[in-house]
Symmetry: C2
Subunit: 155 residues, 2 copies
Amino acid sequence: MRARALASSFPSISLETDALTAARLLADNQRTGLLVTNAAGLPCAVLTASRLLQLMIPRYVVEDPSLGRVIDELHTAQMRDRLAARSVGDCLPKESLAPPVANAEDTVLEVAALMVRENSPLVVVAEHADHGMDPRLLGVITTIELLGRLSEDQP
Amino acid sequence: MRARALASSFPSISLETDALTAARLLADNQRTGLLVTNAAGLPCAVLTASRLLQLMIPRYVVEDPSLGRVIDELHTAQMRDRLAARSVGDCLPKESLAPPVANAEDTVLEVAALMVRENSPLVVVAEHADHGMDPRLLGVITTIELLGRLSEDQP
């Protein structure tokens, strides 16, 4: 089994899109992360649901969750507005990195080792990823897909 | 909207179960984490897919992923056997914590604030969580469920 056969489509969003759209895309796809693409359409980061939730909840509510009981519908609308006013690029943590890229012909175990080494929730699969040509993206492999494949009797 | 209405069932596993069973349960449910329960049936940790993948891939392959190309089927079977020989409890990181517990009557925003403050991928919802009685577990709320609810126009 090679990376090519495991690669599947994954929700992605551009750096310039607003963060509320990103939150809704995550929720619609029931995913914990989105692939972020730059102006050239290449993956440059992963934006997680936990990061967006962190940015959405005001600091004073995080410090005293019981305030969450008294905040009304108007405040919740303002939280959404603040998210809508930010771009995806503004939401990425400073230490954010591009996801690792595997070659289409890599084995499942090579992809898994890359994922563990880079501590990444997903690996992008591309053709020509290391031949100095523009890579052609085939899709993404997530941790759970690799774990499922490796824990089967016939991976 | 209160926590009670958002709580849903979530795959769980006991500390004593073997880690290969945990990996297959994660894959079958397409989840990135499992709730781990102690001998009393109470949630005591979250075991993630990335942690299991990290334990499954031999260190020398992580350090040199190209070795993953030459490892054969026999080695992959040995990796599964090693996972099967460990308990879920053995797989938890030392710093592993019990997931935070919200009350059934907490608002969506209180639950979100608790999740952000504790930096947890899920919150357990219980009745009597702070009344000194044995809590009755109603289910779990994940980050993506909260983010979806809060980014809707009518949360």
